[in-house]
């Protein structure tokens, strides 16, 4: 069977999914939408980052890893990606990794976040 490139969240599991690389999944998920946030429903900092984007008028796509059966793998992958002990929150914009909360805020303060959002089509004037 050839690889089914489409992953619907928790709904449709391609045959290759069992062995698929979590990192790949992360990248794949991240590139599907303009603004992607990996989160945990219990994490308050994730809540803060969600509020930040909503407050800017952006509608982010949120993946709650604690509601995913393979969320743990994704968490591990994210930790490796960030070099961090905190897997979440992690933000991707236009498929590009922005980073954890501190990077997101820094980029908002120095004025680079909004142009990125506009470029990704997540924000209109």
């Amino acid at each position: 069977m050839h690889y089914q490139g489409d992953y619907y969240w928790g709904y449709y599991m391609p045959t290759r999914s069992i062995g698929s690389d979590p990192m790949e999944r992360v990248v794949k998920l991240a590139s599907e939408k303009a603004v992607v946030i990996f989160s945990l429903s219990s994490c308050c900092m994730c809540h803060a980052v969600k509020r930040l984007f909503c407050g800017m008028g952006v509608n982010p796509t949120v993946y709650e890893l604690d509601q995913d059966p393979r969320g743990k793998d994704l968490e591990t992958a994210l930790m490796r990606l960030l070099g961090n002990s905190q897997p979440v929150p992690v933000v991707f914009i236009g498929g590009k990794l922005i980073g954890a909360m501190d990077r997101v805020m820094a980029s908002h303060i120095n004025g680079t976040l909004v142009p990125l959002l506009k470029e990704a089509g997540a924000l209109w004037l």
Binding site: A48, M101, I109, G111
Partner: protein, 485 residues
């Protein structure tokens, strides 16, 4: 000891005896029943010919000395000598006897003590000096002494008072001509000594000022420590009243504050000296690194004792009033600066407003995140069916640990805001801006001290109040408190 109140004859210049000032027209010698050459009596007005007065006194003293082993010359000569210091001023000679009496008669003055006193004498002779305020009852007594001694043979013990003592007078100046020459020399010495003593006085006052500032700082620290002790008194497991992480940070912070003052004065002098942009840039950049340092320190402090930061126990009460997530609120800072940063280019204005907007959004996000944390914590430890107390507590502890993350993000936001400010502004604007920030927080801190030391009716304040409202505290020195965060 003479009992007659010399003060009342116009020698004292304190308030009550101010009505005796008219006495100053009466020659000193006459006042005290000395033998005065008649020529002297025709002097009038306030411009004495002090040379003659001095001569008269000296002659008197010489005469007395010739009868006695110990010359009262010093005693007698001194007032005249000091009088001569400022010949152009109407002399209130009544001060000098006090001064010189101090130098002599009976007190425990050592040689150096005499010097001080003679300097005080000279100081009192200065114009518009609030001499009356310096009068002490001791002075009065010594004036009494002085007066009485003038009339008798003095027991001058001030041979050691070398300052401007006319040594040469002692060495047998018996003729008028010799006196004149020596008088001139002595007068010159007097002027020199007076100048030196003025410098000494200035130095002393400076010392007092700095001690006063140190005292207020110490009291601030003490209050802080006490208040922390008050709040953390029931905390188990800590030997002192404050956790070691918090204590360490407090120490680092106070050192940072001292550094901040240094940086501020660098900024000030840099701006006033109209340094080149590149030179000023160095100073501005070092100030930014200075702030970077406190944020670094706060990272460690948040790990060690997040409550210390988040409750603001490391700051002063007034700062604590404006505290947001363990520090200043960036958008408030920008609001404060906006009006003062003129003139700005249109681009800069847009940049500043956009910075304010984005920091507001970030603050709002963090605040909401923290609120959710609080809600979650409440849910965890609130009542309801007691499932498992320990489990509950463990979960709650886990949630509490998130506080550190929020304080860190808040500090990160502050740091980014300051960096962005320096990017938007020109070097000179940035220098002025940072100076303004430092001064603002310095005033806030000064406000806290003033508030703590204000006079109050009730003596029953439990914590920070400084019951001893001294003048020193009420009048804060402006310069030193204008610094830092």
């Amino acid at each position: 000891m003479a009992n007659h109140r010399v003060g009342e004859t116009g020698l004292a210049d304190s308030g009550p005896s101010s009505n005796h000032h008219h006495h100053h027209n009466i020659p000193y010698a006459v006042l005290h029943g000395m033998n005065v050459p008649p020529s002297f009596m025709h002097q009038e007005g306030s411009a004495f010919d002090f040379g003659e007065l001095e001569e008269a006194i000296v002659l008197q003293g010489v005469k007395i000395r010739n009868d006695e082993a110990k010359p009262p010359l010093f005693t007698a000569g001194r007032p005249a000598a000091t009088l001569e210091m400022f010949p152009s001023w109407p002399m209130r000679f009544q001060q000098t006897p006090r001064g010189s009496s101090k130098s002599g008669e009976e007190s425990t003055d050592s040689g150096s003590g005499v010097n001080t006193i003679s300097s005080k004498t000279e100081n009192q002779v200065e114009p518009e000096s609030p001499i009356s305020k310096k009068t002490s009852s001791l002075d009065q007594q010594q004036q009494v002494e002085m007066a009485s001694d003038i009339s008798r043979t003095g027991t001058s013990q001030n041979q050691s008072a070398a300052a401007k003592t006319p040594q040469e007078k002692r060495r047998g100046s018996t003729s008028e001509k010799q006196l004149d020459a020596k008088t001139l020399r002595r007068l010159a010495q007097n002027r020199e000594a007076a100048r030196k003593s003025r410098l000494r006085k200035k130095a002393y006052v400076q010392q007092l000022e700095s001690s006063r500032i140190k005292l207020t700082q110490l009291e601030q620290d003490l209050q802080r420590a006490r208040s922390q002790g008050f709040f953390l008194g029931g905390c188990a497991g800590t030997v002192g009243n404050i956790s070691s992480g918090a204590a360490i940070f407090d120490m680092e912070y106070s050192r940072w504050l001292e550094d901040d003052q240094r940086h501020m004065s660098e900024l000030r002098t840099g701006l006033n000296a109209h340094l080149s942009d590149s030179d000023l840039r160095i100073i501005v950049d070092s100030y930014i690194s200075h702030y970077d340092e406190i944020f670094r320190l706060k990272v460690a402090a948040a790990k060690a004792d997040v409550f210390h930061l988040i409750t603001g126990m490391w700051t002063t009460p007034a700062e604590r009033c404006f505290l947001w997530m363990g520090g200043f609120r960036p958008s408030d800072l920008i609001k404060m600066l906006i009006s003062q940063l003129d003139p700005l280019t249109e681009q800069q204005v847009m940049g500043i407003y956009s910075l304010q907007h984005s920091s507001q959004q970030a603050e709002e996000a963090l605040t909401q995140g923290l609120e959710q944390l609080q809600q979650s914590l409440t849910d965890t430890i609130a009542g309801g069916p007691v499932i498992d107390g320990m489990q509950q507590m463990a979960v709650a502890l886990g949630k509490l640990a998130n506080l550190e993350g929020f304080v860190r993000q808040a500090d990160n936001l502050r740091q980014q805001t300051l960096h962005q400010l320096s990017r938007i502004l020109t070097v000179r604007q940035a220098a002025r801006c940072f100076l303004m920030i430092g001064e603002y927080y310095g005033r806030l801190r000064a406000l806290s001290s003033l508030w703590a030391s204000r006079p109050r009716e009730s003596m029953m304040s439990e914590d920070h109040s400084c019951q001893t409202t001294t003048e020193l505290q009420m009048v804060q020195p402006s310069q030193n408190h204008f610094s830092n965060f």
